[in-house]
């Protein structure tokens, strides 16, 4: 088995005080394309900095693809898009080996997963077989094809979208796939003021997401993510996190509670959220702020909207103080 490095290590080029500057540039760039959704953008940034993957679920035309493209172009890395359809094959995502007549050898052709940002549009329209091709890529940032394991970029970030309304010909994502996403977000309709600004921007030329200039490099993104992972989490906060996880597992209405992988992701997203708030340590406030997007993607049960249930869980578990 051989390991092929598709991306070399990048030198550190972010100064210690540059975190806020870089994040602010990223924030402003995305907000310039997706109007009136600062809270959504903030959570998307937290997901990106936590090295998690994002699932956007909303109605058509609300800016899911725009958000994903804006994010990819702002980072400045390689962007790939897969329009998921029922006839999409796993090799169409991961890549395949092709016989070269000149060299008389098989050569590996990289698929879309070999990118910095992968947009899997309408992911629930792909067959479960094709959806499963993303398992290894999302969890371990590598793909195994034939007898070779190919490492993906360290900033590999999946943004998947799905339409909750049009369910004809759709294949719901399995629990194992959902658990690999860090959070699920809904964009929602913009406010009237945001819509007015959006209409004004369209006069005299479109403001496309693809016209964005990269504000940070993938190297800088990697350093930002390293800074986030160093954010301190006190033991009492970790115990609080565990108590919340146990509460999800013991709740009578929740069939599938929080997994250990989900627990780790929740802590990482909380670290990113704390860093975005300018702190180097996590508080219970951070855990609660990101609880709904993190838990709503992985709690299974017979409830249309998990948000009230999650609020109830947060109210029932004592917050550690003194």
């Amino acid at each position: 088995m051989t390991v092929l490095a598709s991306q070399a290590a990048h030198p550190a080029d972010l100064n210690p005080a540059g975190f806020e500057v870089a994040v602010d540039r990223l924030r402003r760039a995305i907000n310039s394309v997706l109007r009136g959704k600062a809270d959504v953008v903030e959570r998307v940034l937290a997901c990106l900095l936590a090295r998690g993957h994002l699932l956007l679920e909303d109605l058509p035309g609300l800016g899911k693809t725009t958000l994903a493209k804006a994010l990819a172009h702002s980072v400045g890395g390689k962007f790939a898009r897969v329009q998921c359809t029922p006839d999409l094959l796993p090799s169409d995502i991961t890549g395949f080996s092709m016989f070269n007549q000149k060299t008389r050898e098989f050569e590996f052709c990289e698929g879309p997963v070999f990118s910095d940002v992968l947009l899997a549009d309408e992911i629930n329209r792909a067959t479960p077989r094709t959806q499963s091709a993303l398992f290894e890529a999302m969890a371990e940032r590598q793909v195994s094809i034939d007898k070779s394991t190919h490492r993906l970029r360290s900033t590999f970030f999946v943004v998947a979208t799905q339409n909750p309304v049009d369910s004809h010909g759709a294949h719901p994502l399995p629990e194992a796939q959902l658990d690999r996403f860090a959070m699920k977000l809904t964009v929602g309709y913009p406010s009237p003021d945001a819509e007015l600004a959006m209409l004004s921007d369209q006069i005299g030329g479109a403001s496309e997401a693809t016209s964005l200039e990269p504000v940070i490099t993938p190297n800088q993104l990697q350093q930002l993510q390293a800074r986030v992972s160093a954010v301190e989490v006190a033991e009492k906060v970790q115990r609080y996190l565990i108590a919340l996880a146990q509460a999800t597992r013991n709740h009578r209405e929740i069939v599938l509670g929080l997994s250990p992988r989900g627990l780790i992701l929740w802590q990482r997203v909380a670290q990113a959220w704390a860093k975005l708030q300018g702190r180097d340590f996590v508080t219970p406030d951070d855990l609660q702020q990101v609880a709904v997007p993190v838990l709503s993607v992985r709690l299974m049960g017979d409830f249309p909207d998990p948000a009230p249930l999650i609020e109830q869980l947060l109210d029932s578990v004592p917050v550690p103080v003194l």
Partner: protein
């Protein structure tokens, strides 16, 4: 689908049912319901009042509720209603059980999840139920236990089913729990307890077990520290003695063991323990008897008893002082169950010669017949029927003979029926020659239980006819007769004269058991009434009888026992009758009522008890519920008037304390904060400030919701009811102190002190906007 809340409800019901069962069984012999309710209420308040997640004080709370019964028992012992040690320990277990049931969901931080708390509470409730049922197996206890078993089985099945469906955390999660508190105080508690035990061990290392226990363990009197519930120390407590004397648990009642006993007899009571007549001691000579005339030595004393009891001298020695042994043992002659005071007649005297009371005129013997008037299957020996129009309803008393060795059956004056369990023959009951109840045995066996029915007189004597006799031609005691006539001068004849005479006698003389008549006195009553005016009850009774006879009323003196209500034991609900309760009173004859004779005839007339001695009262009719309410209200009002100042002072103090409790507690907490923050680190300074803020909010009933983070709570101004909120800078500082770990402090040390001071400054004086 099995729902977990229903399981939780059932799990909470198990401790409640077991608590109810425990208190049902405890209330059977523990009359101090107020203490029990106080202790139970305190426990529930402690559990319910525990703040928030009970993270910090859980260990102290558990220890507190477990030790609460032991602490309260110290107060109970001071009030004379202590509890045995095993009951105290069970109450402690009950408190822990209630704590788990009420606070189970808030102990998660200590590794006790809600499900585990329910399981532990259920286990404790099982032990409590077993203790209660085995302790007092009553029908109600069995019924509650059956309900508990059904509920418990249902709970177990439900829980098992829910676990099968994966509704609960996997068992591995429970096994991995930590059982020890995570914070420091638990170590301090354990270390402190260990140090205390070590110090006690060193202090008493050279003492014997007896001296080391002295003062720590309650005893039955051997160490001058008496407790009726003692089950350790020196000797046994009264309750253990009472248990040994309970005939329901003792089989033999007429064995040689008891008949050959050296215990005191009725003869001893009259002649040795009580008051010994002068010149009674005589030398005796042994005479050999033929085997067929041989009297066993245990019957010899009884024969003397019968002979000696025919006459009672009023010229006697002073009563001997009771010997106080180091061991406290029961010296009761009998126990009376039922209403007291009760006059229990043993002998009657109808003749007075100036010095001695004696009996000369035997009454015709009467027979008894067995009957079952109540239809309850009990065979009663009917003694007499009385007119219910004047006398009160029949009332039952139970006599438990202990040290009374006599064939005489102490009975109330107006006795109507007698019964001994498992006795089917009426021939065992007899009349003595002096018209007193006796049994056809050598001696009533110790531990015998005798049930007596009697009627008590009404308080209204107006409709009662008294038997009179023609005045004697030659008055034998003219001075006494003149005194009697002077006392009742102007009082209408009949019952009013009897009452007036007795009341006057009570005021005229003083009851003094040690004031004996000089041995050379010829007429003891004249000396008593005119000179000393002080003496024992037999002088009062003899004086009253002689004076009543001089007025033409038929009267006689009765000796027996007075069941004193001061000796009533609320725990056992019985009144012990001791040797010093020997008492004399008078009976006058009424033409009401009749007594059955053997041939079916009836003797009209009833002897009614009259009490001439001060400090003694006759048993009145049983009050109805209205009278009881009025009496209770009257007693309460009387007590309130007597303690008006105390009540007013208590109410004023309570009012002041209640109105000032918040500022006083605030002042105290602030003082603690001022003291604690000095000398500590900057982080501890902030943490103490947060401690003060949270406590202040709790005092103002604005405690932080358990699921709300501190930062959000502070920023929305919740501690001050929205009127003011700490600065955002302080909130960041607080978050750093709580969760920051090794990260850099967000502000300087001087600024930190200023921020803390600003955060704990007193709230604005304006009223709460809520």
């Amino acid at each position: 689908m099995p729902g977990r809340p229903i399981t939780r409800i059932a799990a909470s019901a198990l401790p409640l049912v077991s608590t109810a069962l425990l208190h049902v069984t405890l209330s059977a012999d523990d009359p101090s319901t107020a203490w029990t309710l106080c202790e139970l209420g305190g426990t529930v308040l402690l559990c319910l009042g525990a703040r928030g997640p009970v993270t910090r004080y859980a260990v102290a709370l558990m220890a507190g509720v477990a030790l609460l019964p032991l602490a309260i028992n110290l107060l109970r012992q001071g009030a004379g209603v202590g509890l045995p040690l095993e009951t105290q320990l069970t109450l402690g277990l009950r408190n822990l059980m209630l704590l788990l049931a009420l606070c189970g969901g808030r102990l998660a931080a200590h590794g006790i999840s809600a499900g585990l708390a329910d399981a532990l509470a259920g286990l404790a409730s099982l032990f409590v139920v077993l203790f209660a049922v085995l302790r007092t197996p009553t029908a109600l206890a069995y019924a509650l236990a059956a309900g508990y078993v059904l509920l418990g089985l249902w709970w177990l099945a439900r829980t098992s089913w829910a676990e099968l469906e994966g509704r609960f955390a996997p068992s591995g999660a429970i096994q991995g729990k930590r059982w020890r508190a995570t914070r420091g105080p638990s170590w301090w508690v354990f270390a402190g307890c260990g140090l205390a035990v070590l110090c006690c061990g060193l202090a008493f290392r050279e003492a014997t077990s007896t001296t080391s226990l002295w003062g720590f363990m309650p005893s039955s009197g051997g160490q001058l520290d008496y407790s009726e519930v003692a089950n350790g120390g020196i000797g046994d407590g009264d309750q253990l003695v009472a248990a040994q004397q309970n005939p329901s648990s003792v089989g033999p009642i007429e064995t040689d063991l008891f008949i050959e006993s050296k215990q005191a007899s009725l003869f001893d009571v009259f002649n040795e323990l009580g008051e010994l007549p002068l010149g009674h001691r005589k030398s005796s000579r042994a005479i050999a008897l033929a085997p067929d005339r041989l009297i066993h030595h245990h019957l010899k004393k009884l024969t003397v008893n019968e002979q000696a009891g025919r006459e009672f001298s009023t010229v006697r020695n002073k009563p001997q002082t009771q010997r106080q042994g180091e061991q406290r043992t029961s010296d009761a002659l009998m126990y009376v169950t039922g209403r007291v005071p009760l006059h229990l007649a043993v002998r009657r005297y109808d003749t007075w010669d100036g010095r001695n009371l004696s009996f000369r005129y035997p009454k015709p013997p009467a027979a008894f017949k067995l009957s079952d008037p109540d239809g309850a299957g009990d065979r009663w020996a009917i003694v007499s029927y009385l007119r219910p129009a004047w006398f009160g309803p029949e009332e039952e008393h139970e006599l438990r003979i202990i040290h009374l060795k006599s064939d005489r059956l102490p009975s109330p004056g107006l006795v109507t029926a007698a019964r001994i369990d498992e006795l089917n023959s009426a021939d065992l009951f007899r009349w003595s020659a002096d018209a007193s109840l006796r049994m056809d045995v050598e001696a009533i066996p110790p531990l015998s239980t005798i049930h007596l029915k009697s009627q008590c007189g009404s308080t209204d004597w107006s409709g009662l006819d008294l038997a009179t006799h023609a005045p004697a031609t030659a008055e034998p005691f003219p001075k006494i007769a003149a005194l009697a006539r002077s006392w009742v001068e102007g009082v209408p004849a009949g019952c009013q004269q009897v009452e007036a005479l007795c009341e006057r006698l009570k005021k005229h003389c003083v009851l003094d058991p040690e004031a004996v008549v000089p041995s050379k006195t010829k007429d003891t009553l004249e000396h008593f009434l005119t000179q000393s005016r002080r003496g024992p009850s037999y002088l009062f009774a003899a004086s009253a009888a002689v004076m009543l006879r001089s007025l033409g009323y038929e009267s006689r003196v009765v000796s027996g026992f007075y069941a004193d209500p001061k000796r009533y034991d609320p725990v056992s609900k019985r009144t012990p009758v001791l040797a010093e309760d020997l008492h004399f009173w008078v009976e006058i004859k009424s033409t009401s009522g009749f007594v059955f004779l053997r041939n079916g005839d009836r003797i009209p007339g009833t002897w009614l008890p009259v009490e001439p001695s001060p400090g003694h009262t006759l048993l009145g009719p049983q009050p109805g519920w209205r009278q009881r309410v009025v009496m209770a209200a009257h007693a309460a009002l009387h007590w309130a008037l007597q303690n008006a100042w105390l009540i007013a002072l208590s109410a004023a103090t309570l009012t002041v304390l209640m109105s000032l409790r918040t500022p006083a507690a605030d002042l105290l907490l602030t003082a603690v904060w001022e003291f604690a923050r000095r000398g500590g680190s900057e982080r501890s300074h902030v943490l103490w400030t947060l401690w003060l803020i949270e406590w202040r909010a709790s005092l103002r009933r604005r405690a932080r919701p358990k699921g709300e983070p501190l930062g959000a709570w502070l920023l929305r101004g919740a501690p001050e009811g929205g009127a003011a909120s700490p600065s955002e800078e302080f909130v960041k500082l607080a978050q750093w102190a709580l969760y920051g770990g090794r990260t850099v402090r967000p502000t300087t040390g001087d600024r930190l002190a200023v921020l803390c001071r600003q955060a704990v400054r007193p709230a604005p004086s304006k009223k709460d906007p809520r």
